[in-house]
C-alpha cells in the first residue's frame, strides 16, 4: 500500500476569521477537490476564529466525501483553543469524529474513548490488516470493524482492497505517518 500525495490545505489563506456558511462551502469545495488527488491535511495555523457555521459546512462535505472515498485521509492540525472548541461543538452536533495531528501524533477529536484507544493503536501499526489491529487490541473482528468504520468516516484512516488476498475480501488499512508531517501545522 503506497502513501498517496498529501495536500496541505491552509485555511489562513481564506482569512484569519472563518465565518459564514457561504465561505464554509467555498472551503469545502477546495477540500473536496484536494481529496480527489489524495490525502489532505487541513491546517488552521494562523486562523484566530472559526465559527460553527463555517465549520459545519466543511465537516458536512467531508463526511459526504469520505463515505464514498475509502482511500482518502483527511486530518486537521494547527488549531488554537477557540477553533478547537468550535470544531468540537460541530463534531458533537453531527455525531462525528475527526483525525487531528497534534504533538506529533494522529489523534481523534470527538468520538468515544474506546475509539481514541483504537486510533492510538492504529497509529502505532501505521499500515495494517484488521486482524493485526484486533490482535493488538484483543478485540473480536466484528467489534473492531465497527470502530474502523467510524475512524474511516472520520478521515483518520484509509482502506484499500487487498488484491493479493486468496480467500474472501480483505483490506489494508493505513494511518498517515506523523513523522512525514513534521512542520505542518
Amino acid at each position: 500500500m503506497s502513501m498517496k500525495n498529501i495536500t496541505i490545505l491552509r485555511l489562513d489563506n481564506v482569512a484569519a476569521v472563518l465565518s459564514t456558511r457561504e465561505r464554509g462551502r467555498e472551503a469545502a469545495d477546495r477540500l473536496q477537490d484536494a481529496l480527489q488527488a489524495g490525502n489532505v491535511v487541513v491546517s488552521f495555523a494562523g486562523v484566530e476564529v472559526a465559527t460553527p457555521s463555517f465549520l459545519d459546512e466543511v465537516l458536512a462535505r467531508l463526511h459526504t466525501v469520505l463515505q464514498t472515498n475509502e482511500q482518502a485521509i483527511a486530518i486537521v492540525t494547527g488549531m488554537n483553543e477557540d477553533v478547537r472548541e468550535s470544531l468540537e461543538l460541530v463534531l458533537r452536533h453531527r455525531g462525528m469524529a475527526l483525525g487531528v495531528l497534534e504533538e506529533g501524533h494522529i489523534r481523534l477529536l470527538g468520538g468515544k474513548k474506546h475509539l481514541q484507544q483504537t486510533m492510538a493503536e492504529a497509529e502505532k501499526l501505521g499500515t495494517f490488516k484488521a486482524t493485526e489491529l484486533a490482535e493488538a487490541l484483543k478485540l473480536k473482528l466484528p467489534n473492531l470493524h465497527q470502530r474502523l468504520k467510524v475512524l474511516r468516516e472520520a478521515g483518520a484512516i484509509s482502506r484499500e482492497t487487498d488484491e493479493t488476498a486468496q480467500r474472501g475480501r480483505r483490506h489494508d488499512y493505513q494511518v498517515l505517518d506523523p513523522s512525514e508531517l513534521v512542520g505542518i501545522g
Binding site: V17, S19, T51, S53, L89
Partner: protein
C-alpha cells in the same frame, strides 16, 4: 427617550441592560423635518454595552434617514459614566458630535468594542479578530474573549440576513460592565421582521426554533457557552417579546413594552479566570 417627534432625546438614570431598549428610536417615528437632534445624557448614571449599542443605533438611524441631519450629545455629568460612555460610542460618525468645548475623558479600558455600524461580514470578521486580540486588555479571560469573538460574526450575520431594511445596519458594542464584571457583546438592528410581526413573541420563539433546527447562529452561541463551560446569559428583544437564556436553564419568554428592531445581547458572567483591566491611561485630547 421621548418617542414624540422633537429635537431633544433625553436619557436619565440607569440605562444598562434591557432598560436601554426603552430608548431605542423607532425608525417609523415621524421625523417631521427635524434635522438637528440633541441627545441629552447629562443625568445618566450608569451605562453599559447595551446603552452604547442602543444610542449608536438611534444616532445612525437619524443620520441615515434625515438628509443633512446632525446629532449633538450632552455628556453625563458624572465623570466615570462619561469615561465609559465616551469609549462606548467610540469615534462618532460624521454629523454627530460632543459639544466643542468637551474635554476627552480618561479612557475606560473595559470597553473592548466601541459601538459601531456593521454593514458586511468582512467588517464583522475584522471586529471579531479585534475582540479576540483586545479582550484580555479589558479584563476578559482568553476563553471569554474567544467565545465573544466567535459569537460576533454569528450575531452580525443574523442581523444582515433578517434585517435588510434596518436603517442603522447592525450596530455592535462590547464592554465589561463596571459593577457586575459581565463581559457584554450586544448587536442591535432596526429591522422589523420580528418586531413588526402581529405576534412578536411567537415570531421570536419561531426564530429560536429555526436556529435550533438549522444549527444556526443563536444555537451556536448557546452551544459554545456550554462547550466552554462559561456562565453565559443571552437576552433577545424584539417588539414586545423578550427571550432570556442562562446556562443551565431553558429559554424563558415574557412580554414587555415595545422596542423596535431586534437586540441580541450576550453577557459572560465573571468566572475564576478573570483579572482586572490593564491600568487606564489618559487619552490624548481631540
Amino acid at each position: 427617550m421621548n418617542h414624540l417627534p422633537q429635537p431633544i432625546w433625553s436619557l436619565a438614570g440607569d440605562v444598562r441592560g434591557a432598560r436601554a431598549l426603552a430608548h431605542l428610536i423607532d425608525p417609523k417615528q415621524l421625523k417631521d423635518g427635524i434635522t438637528e437632534r440633541l441627545l441629552n445624557m447629562s443625568t445618566v448614571t450608569s451605562v453599559d454595552a447595551f446603552s452604547g449599542a442602543v444610542v449608536r443605533a438611534s444616532i445612525e438611524d437619524h443620520l441615515a434617514s434625515v438628509p443633512g441631519g446632525t446629532v449633538s450629545i450632552w455628556q453625563p455629568s458624572e465623570e466615570p459614566v462619561w469615561e465609559t460612555l465616551h469609549d462606548l460610542l467610540g469615534p462618532l460618525p460624521e454629523g454627530c458630535q460632543f459639544p466643542q468645548d468637551t474635554m476627552s475623558p480618561v479612557r475606560d479600558r473595559r470597553v473592548f468594542l466601541p459601538a459601531q455600524r456593521v454593514d458586511d461580514m468582512e467588517t464583522a470578521d475584522l471586529l471579531a479578530r479585534y475582540v479576540h486580540g483586545v479582550g484580555s486588555s479589558a479584563g476578559l479571560s482568553a476563553k471569554e474573549a474567544g467565545f465573544l469573538a466567535t459569537a460576533l460574526p454569528a450575531l452580525v450575520e443574523n442581523g444582515l440576513r433578517y434585517a435588510m431594511n434596518s436603517p442603522c445596519g447592525v450596530v455592535v458594542c462590547g464592554a465589561v460592565e463596571r459593577e457586575s464584571g459581565d463581559g457584554q457583546l450586544v448587536a442591535v438592528d432596526l429591522g422589523d421582521s420580528i418586531s413588526g410581526a402581529k405576534d412578536a413573541s411567537a415570531a421570536l420563539r419561531g426564530c429560536l426554533e429555526l436556529s435550533r433546527q438549522n444549527f444556526g447562529g443563536l444555537e451556536h452561541v448557546r452551544g459554545l457557552a456550554v462547550q466552554r463551560d462559561l456562565d453565559v446569559s443571552i437576552l433577545l428583544a424584539s417588539g414586545t417579546a423578550r427571550g432570556r437564556w442562562r446556562r443551565g436553564g431553558s429559554w424563558r419568554y415574557n412580554e414587555v413594552a415595545f422596542a423596535p428592531g431586534f437586540c441580541a445581547g450576550i453577557s459572560v458572567h465573571p468566572g475564576k479566570l478573570r483579572r482586572s483591566p490593564r491600568s487606564v491611561a489618559p487619552k490624548m485630547g481631540k
